[in-house]
């Protein structure tokens, strides 16, 4: 019997409630057999509705309200993941269709990273963003598992294959995910965005496209985040310059040396994957949880030590709450902010992601 006719899809496409590891382990005895039941949708569906109703247009376009109403692959990917998790197939189809129609590149399975604001849906930069493509693949594979949809699985699989084919580099013995196809490779270093390492997505993608490269990306990524930390708080910057394995990474030239809106996702994704005791998460939790702090700053400059003079938005507070609870066991679900409290798309998305991560890693409900 041709293998392609076996039961679809593999069950471990679904992350279990106990997190990524449990999801991966659950597949051991089930792979290739009857598909397992997808995990039950979260009960706080109001959080999803709050996000959907504020930031997703009727045609499925997710609007970044903090950036003038542009749309991007990251937003579509998060929207797809949320819709799949909350078992909202109608919304998933709309978000995914818009993504396919507007952002999908013709030459490969990747996506253009940005669509200009406005109704004309003009893509003005066909370069991709690796985090957006990882999120879309994750969303497609979760949706395929939930709704037993072979076409979604095939699309997610093709995208995961092209992520491996086009976005993995090995400078000086390090296996790296570049942030995009173009613009990040320099003669003596490669620029990496640590927050593009979406650790909870890797087991799902590895299940669909089993390849040793996922193990290498994850292992080298963890190692990179152990050494690529700077300043008083020993935090990862938004952008890192990486050379060979024998040299330490450094903040990328030409970018602000901040632990800021990008890098705040490092503790989110690491805690979500069960890596809450990694130094990058512990350091962020320590900075956010310092008792002397009057306000939780929106960003910290890793070179000067200067902090933002305005408070972190709701989404960052949600991540801080997750990181502190996951790494030190302090705090409960009652302190987790609501999506409705968030001022903009990004903050709302981070809040909803933190809530999903909280649930996945088995924190008290």
């Amino acid at each position: 019997m041709p293998v392609g006719q076996t039961v679809f899809p593999r069950p471990s496409c679904v992350l279990s409630r106990r997190g990524v590891l449990a999801g991966a382990v659950a597949s051991l005895g089930l792979a290739g057999e009857a598909a397992a039941e997808p995990m039950a949708p979260p009960t706080d569906v109001g959080q999803w509705h709050s996000f959907r109703d504020r930031f997703i247009q009727s045609n499925g376009r997710v609007l970044d309200t903090a950036n003038g109403g542009i749309s991007h692959s990251e937003g579509q990917g998060w929207g797809m993941l949320f819709a799949a998790r909350f078992d909202d197939r109608e919304s998933f189809v709309r978000i995914s269709d818009w993504r396919r129609r507007v952002l999908k590149r013709g030459t490969d399975a990747l996506h253009a990273w940005r669509c200009r604001a406005g109704p004309d849906e003009v893509v003005d930069d066909y370069n991709n963003a690796t985090d957006g493509d990882l999120l879309i693949a994750w969303g497609l594979l979760e949706a395929a598992a939930r709704w037993q949809d072979a076409a979604l699985f095939a699309e997610g699989r093709a995208l995961a294959q092209d992520i491996l084919r086009l976005l993995v580099r090995a400078p000086g013995g390090r296996t790296l995910l570049v942030p995009g196809l173009r613009g990040f490779e320099h003669p003596t270093y490669v620029v990496v965005n640590p927050s593009y390492y979406i650790f909870p997505a890797f087991p799902v993608l590895a299940d669909a496209v089993p390849d040793p490269a996922w193990v290498q990306i994850a292992a080298h990524g963890i190692a990179l985040l152990r050494t690529g930390r700077f300043g008083r708080w020993q935090l990862p910057p938004d952008w890192l310059a990486v050379t060979g394995r024998t040299q330490l990474p450094r903040p990328a030239p030409g970018w602000p040396t901040r632990f800021s809106y990008d890098a705040v996702r490092v503790p989110l994704y690491m805690a979500w994957a069960g890596l809450a005791h990694e130094p990058a998460v512990v350091a962020a939790a320590r900075m956010w949880g310092r008792p002397a702090s009057a306000i939780m700053p929106a960003w910290v400059d890793l070179m000067s030590g200067q902090s933002a003079d305005y408070p972190a938005p709701t989404g960052i507070r949600a991540i801080a709450h997750l990181a502190i609870a996951a790494s030190s066991g302090q705090g409960g679900p009652a302190q987790m902010p609501d999506v409705a409290e968030a001022d903009d798309y990004y903050s709302a998305a981070l809040t909803l992601l933190s809530r999903l991560a909280w649930r996945d890693v088995g924190m008290p409900a």
């Binding site: 471990s12 590891l21 991966a24 051991l28 089993p210 040793p212 290498q216 963890i222 152990r226």
Partner: protein, 210 residues
Amino acid sequence: MLPRDDDPDRIWDEIYRPGIAPLPPTPLSRQQKRSRKIALGVVGACMSMAALLAGGTALLVGSVFHLYTAIEQRDGAYLERHVDWARLQPALRADLQRLAAEGQGDGPTSDAYLRGLIDTTSNAGRQPDRLADMLAARERWQANYGPIHPGLRDIVESVHLLAGLEFQLDLIADPYTVVSGVSLCVRPSTQSGPGMRLITLGWPESGRHC
């Protein structure tokens, strides 16, 4: 120039002298007999070796081609019979563990997360469909260009004979072929008829083969 002979009769007699009988065959000595037997044995052994080599090569080539085709066509039934599943999955897992340890370097361990990822990935070594998934993941251009059926010389970069009649076949690293750059490690088996069984895989990233 030949020397002249002044006595042609003598020459004539030498040629036509009657009563000269042909020499009786000289009986072979024991040593000569033994040498002859040895020579015949060596020739026979060489011929047998050549036949064995030709047969073995044909078996190897045929098996690899069938394996390759089974992977390309995702033929689970063939893979089920021609893969040593008891050896493959532990070998894959060990290889992935080594890759993870190399990648992580020194420092606190992330074993739980990476072990899950390794489990997920090495599941490909447990069942035919998962193995086909793993190998087909390397078929980078298949979706765009459709199946390509190259000749064997377009697939295999080199062949190495290992201990215990195991062979390592390094497939070429070419985006137009399935399982680009992977090494297939096979050994003879009669379990499903005479042929080679896949015992483990080697990845170009790992630098480790059979």
